[in-house]
Amino acid sequence: MIRRDEFASIANNGLWKQNSSLVQILGMCPLLAVTTNATNGAMLSLATLLVMALSGAAVASLRHLIPHEIRIPVFILIVATLVTMVDLAFNAGLHGLYLVLGIFIPLIVTNCIVLARVEAFAAKNPPLHSALDGVFMGLGMLWTLSLLGGLRELIGAGTLLSGIELVIPGTHALRLLPEDYPGLLLASLPPGAFILLGCLIAWKNWMEARAARAKRPPLPHSPSSPAPAAAGPQG
């Protein structure tokens, strides 16, 4: 089956280390267009997660049968089939949300992150691993896009989770800032998505730099770190 450390590595890669939006910077088109609120970001990520998990499993199962030379068209065909299924399911189950997300559900086919994981991971690993990879890549996208969408609607309009009534009927959006908050429209427009994504990437880099510093405290007299003089002329 799957070893514990393999699972941990797949989870860590998807959620943080190779996060699709913050590190690989893939899937920018839905990121710009859809994350105008947390609901849309989360739901599109869920659709992508579903596609990635299923396509990972499907491609991994068929990986020995697919001729290497035409693997990309075959992958796209598999992904497109799965996207069509998800698209139809959204249309049937969450019609209101389907109208909001519109073209971006069918466009999951062209989302680079799907093809990237299929090509880089599922084509070389067993089905269970590949499905998990798809799930965790999707979860990584989920938290990033939800956070980005939440920030954008909070700064742009002062609300959180607007459009939630399309997913869970009877609920309504939270209004976190006072009614007369003027809203920074820029945050709701595509440039706002880019600026906030930049801030999130900076935050992630800062977290990692801090963690790296904490791991290696500067110890000038430690024997494990040779003094500059000992490094000699090779330096």
């Binding site: 003027p182 809203g183 920074l184 429209l185 820029l186 427009l189 440039p191 600026i195 930049g198």
Partner: protein, 347 residues
């Protein structure tokens, strides 16, 4: 007295001295502004300056740089003043704060601070607020003496109820709207004669503010704070373009003089497009950069949806600066001969 024999070296102007003279050069324009439109602009300048200094100090502190010398170089104040002068003086105080914060924090310090920003910080701040709050940024005050100050202050503090009495369309905006409403039957001359907001050069009042900027700008050119290239190319391109369309169809296009003295043309030509950091650095590049910025500004203000295009023109040309600079490098003295020599020796 110099008590040494030649040769002498000219001491390079420090950033502080340059920036102080730029601020000084803005004073005539500001004085005309206060005279025609009331002291509200002074309040905005104060808000913008305080925000800029606080943001600059905070960002320098966060970046672990010495705060004192960088604050004293006055560059943050120049950004703040230019930004306040491009915004309507009766916008609510928080709008000015948002614009200045964006200019200093995002456009200046996130790109590396003074000397590193690819985009003109003041214009980035302006673009952010005109995109985010188009209604507030298009409410300009009408001509008003000091007696309107109380009402203007009220508007700045956020009470926008009695605002209609204060505001009037800017000449550029009024002309565009009037021509559109006339649906091809109106003419520029009729509009200009009809409404009471136009003067002999541009808009009444605004033409004096423009003359103030012109005087300050000429002072800067005379002091060699900047070269003649950018203002000349900016105003020249604007005049040529406006003149060509005016000669082609004088009924639907305003005269070049009107365009030179309306909106942000003179402020843009002398104070904004001349930014040494985000603008082009080579002489030919400066001409191209300024002509491009003026052309875009004219196209946006006449055919576009925004009341003026100076900010967008400058920002779009900022984007082209690396390319312009690459293709307009002046030849190094002797480089051609060296290349010739190299080719001969190589053979």
């Amino acid at each position: 007295m110099i008590d040494q024999p030649a040769p002498y070296l000219l001491k390079p102007a420090s950033v502080t001295r340059v920036m102080a003279q730029v601020l000084l050069a803005l004073v005539p324009g500001i004085a005309a502004y206060v005279w025609w439109f009331g002291p509200a602009i002074l309040v905005q300048l104060a808000i913008a300056s305080a925000t800029a200094l606080a943001a600059e100090a905070a960002m320098l502190g966060l970046r672990g740089k010495p705060v004192g010398p960088a604050l004293a170089d006055l560059s943050a104040l120049v950004t703040a003043w230019l930004l306040a002068l491009t915004l309507p003086p009766i916008v609510p105080w928080w709008l000015t704060v948002v614009a200045v914060l964006f200019a200093i924090v995002v456009a200046k310090h996130l790109y590396g601070g003074l000397g590193q920003n690819p985009f003109n910080p003041a214009m980035v701040g302006f673009a952010v607020v005109i995109v985010s709050y188009p209604a507030l940024v298009s409410q300009w005050p009408g001509i008003s003496g000091p007696d309107a100050f109380a009402a203007q202050l009220d508007a700045i503090l956020g009470h926008r109820a009695g605002l209609d009495a204060l505001t009037g369309a800017t000449p550029l905006d009024h002309l565009k709207t009037a021509l559109k409403l006339a649906e091809g039957n109106g003419s520029v001359a009729a509009v200009l004669a009809d409404a009471g907001i136009y003067g002999p050069l541009g808009g009444r009042g605004w033409e004096w503010v423009g003359l103030g900027y012109l005087a300050g700008g000429l002072f800067l050119v005379a002091r060699r704070i900047m070269t003649w290239h950018v203002p000349a190319a900016y105003l020249g391109a604007m005049a040529v373009l406006a003149g060509a369309l005016w000669l082609f169809d004088g009924a639907s296009f305003a005269s070049p003089l009107f365009h030179l003295f309306s909106g942000g043309t003179l402020l843009g030509a002398f104070f904004i497009a001349t930014d040494p950091v985000s603008g082009s650095t080579t002489p030919r590049g400066k001409l191209l950069f300024a002509a491009g910025a003026a052309t875009l500004a004219y196209l946006i203000r006449v055919f576009g949806g925004y009341p003026d295009g100076v900010a967008f023109g400058v920002l779009l040309m900022n984007l082209c600066v690396p390319l312009i600079d690459m293709y307009t490098q002046p030849p190094i003295f002797g480089a051609k001969a060296m290349a010739e020599l190299g080719r001969k020796e190589g053979r």
